[in-house]
């Protein structure tokens, strides 16, 4: 078979994630202290797991309605109101999805016409650009800068807008930099967008993991609700990555078109996960606080540790990553990370894995125990001594 003749040219044109090679190296090595993982080290809190188990015991193994069970959508609406002062109608404005990832995909597919431009700040999570390309859209990348604390600035946004701009992706709190956007930062962005026809995809999967101040959603800013598609999920806040459950909240005309795609593509999100998620939404606020506090303690350990060994490190205020500047050794970030892995057996992710603007940096996850983090810091310090 001439597969290359048969496969979609668009799909073939998408570059595979460059980080795979690095992870393959890692998987074949022994005694590595890894700080690479982008998911919580906690297991899902027991009462949430139990709700899932109970639903299986009771034989609740059918499909739910396409948008998700009404009870879950109602709890999501109540949660968004309680935590972020956002109002959504559970009957028409919320769709439960297979992870936050599906919610992002639905957004792209519902909005993009061939040639439409989608502005994507980088460094950021790897999925946005490829999903835009699958829809024959054009990703327009804006490199956020360390000097701006990796925030998206109004100035850079204004410069990137063209008549073809359809959508702005706002990935904050940010993976990999740990940057957040405060209310003032968002006001400035809103100022640029008001009066345009540009929509915003606000990926708020890390909204519960901010340190020192509460997350503000762009949908809560004046004139932004009607142009915002909020995607989020249960993975990070409730340590539920493997349950694959997320949601999209958006004005009805948008949500209903996304629902159509969701209905034909996946039918509905997994029932067990949905029933467990109701328990998370209704009785999980304490779990969130407990885990966020633990991440915060680790965040302080790692930022201090990195700065003490002389690596410039911007203060991350969200997610569970730090993004230190490793450019001072005459090595590319990939060389730095490979040598650190081979010579001192610590794995961290080269910044270039997260798009333009990542060179010179590395992502370090602190979704690990304090002991593990201290071991990694000791090894990194030994490595840096050799380089100097």
């Amino acid at each position: 078979m001439e597969y290359t003749q048969l496969l979609s040219r668009t799909v073939q044109g998408i570059k595979p994630s460059g980080i795979r090679k690095f992870f393959d190296l890692l998987e074949n090595m022994q005694d590595v202290v890894a700080l690479t993982v982008g998911q919580p080290d906690f297991a899902t809190p027991w009462h949430i797991r139990e709700a899932g188990i109970q639903s299986l015991e009771q034989g609740k193994t059918y499909y739910t309605s396409n948008a998700g069970t009404f009870e879950l959508r109602r709890s999501i609406a109540a949660y968004l109101d309680r935590r972020f002062s956002l109002r959504y109608d559970p009957a028409h404005e919320i769709v439960v999805t297979v992870g936050g990832s599906e919610a992002i995909d639905l957004t792209m597919r519902a909005l993009i016409e061939p040639g439409d431009e989608v502005i994507v700040p980088t460094p950021s999570f790897v999925c946005y650009g490829p999903l835009v390309e699958l829809c024959h859209g054009v990703p327009v990348y804006i490199q956020t800068q360390a000097k701006d604390n990796f925030k998206l600035t109004a100035e850079d946004l204004r410069a990137a807008i063209t008549p073809k701009t359809k959508l702005l992706v706002l990935p904050f709190p940010n993976n990999p930099t740990g940057a957040i956007m405060t209310r003032e930062d968002l006001e400035a962005i809103a100022e640029v967008l008001r009066g345009t026809n540009i929509l915003v995809l606000s990926d708020e999967i890390y909204a519960e993991l901010t340190y020192g101040r509460r997350h503000v959603s762009v949908a809560a800013i004046d004139g932004m609700w009607e142009r915002t598609i909020l995607t989020s999920g249960f993975s990070k806040a409730y340590a539920m990555t493997g349950w694959r459950l997320g949601y999209v909240a958006a004005p009805e005309p948008l949500a209903q078109q996304m629902l159509k795609i969701h209905q034909f593509a996946v039918m509905c999100a997994p029932t067990t996960s949905q029933l467990a998620a109701i328990e998370a939404m209704e009785n999980g606020d304490e779990d969130i606080a407990y885990m966020a506090d633990a991440y915060n303690q680790r965040r302080r350990c790692i930022v201090k540790g990195l700065r003490d060994m002389g690596l410039p490190c911007f203060e991350p205020e969200g997610a569970f990553y730090v993004f230190p500047d490793i450019s001072g050794f005459g090595l590319s970030c990939e060389e730095f990370c490979e040598r650190l892995l081979y010579e001192n057996k610590v794995a961290i992710v080269p910044g270039t894995a997260f798009g333009a603007g990542g060179e010179g940096f590395a992502r370090i996850s602190y979704a690990y125990s304090v002991k593990h983090i201290h071991e990694a810091l000791n090894r990194m310090e030994d490595f840096l001594k050799k380089l100097r």
């Binding site: 980080i19 690479t36 993982v37 990999p176 506090d293 303690q297 302080r300 350990c301 992502r363 201290h374």
Partner: protein
């Protein structure tokens, strides 16, 4: 409740330097707090949780229920004190319900434990009855699950 008490309860190996970074306080302040907790008898000691079943140490442990006649003025305290002074005794709790004191003891053999109950505990004044339950297996103690080695099974997904 102070957060650092909980942190030390979970991991007594944390140093004041590490704690100071984790909670964003001066290291001197943390040292003073810990010293004060020790002086006030809030922090009573630091121990290590060991799964002895994985070693060649021979031992058995038992829970002994004791029914006790309370003494005038002293209640159960005097009896409890007599019991906890034996080095074999690991823990003593005053209980509600069908018996009064729960005593955890450790010995080398079942015979040794049985002798201890028969010769030391049962004859004590004010003890009405004893019931000895040998512990067959420890699944979880002090919040730690036994026999489980934590393996990081998380996939490398960014």
């Amino acid at each position: 409740m102070d957060k650092i008490l909980k942190m030390l309860e979970d991991d007594a190996t944390l140093t004041p330097e590490q704690i100071s970074v984790m909670v964003d306080k001066e290291v001197g302040e943390i040292r003073d707090m810990v010293r004060q907790y020790e002086q006030d008898g809030i922090i009573l000691g630091y121990k290590t949780i060991i799964d002895w079943d994985k070693t060649d140490r021979e031992y058995v442990s038992a829970l002994i229920e004791l029914k006790v006649i309370p003494q005038r003025d002293r209640g159960f305290d005097k009896v409890a004190e007599k019991i906890y002074n034996y080095p074999e005794v690991q823990s003593v709790y005053l209980m509600s319900g069908s018996f009064d004191l729960a005593v955890f003891i450790e010995g080398k053999t079942m015979r040794e434990v049985a002798y201890f109950v028969a010769r030391k505990l049962a004859p004590l004044e004010y003890i009405q009855a004893t019931a000895t339950h040998f512990i067959l297996r420890k699944y979880k103690d002090k919040g730690v699950v036994y026999g489980k080695v934590e393996i990081d099974e998380r996939g490398n997904i960014i």
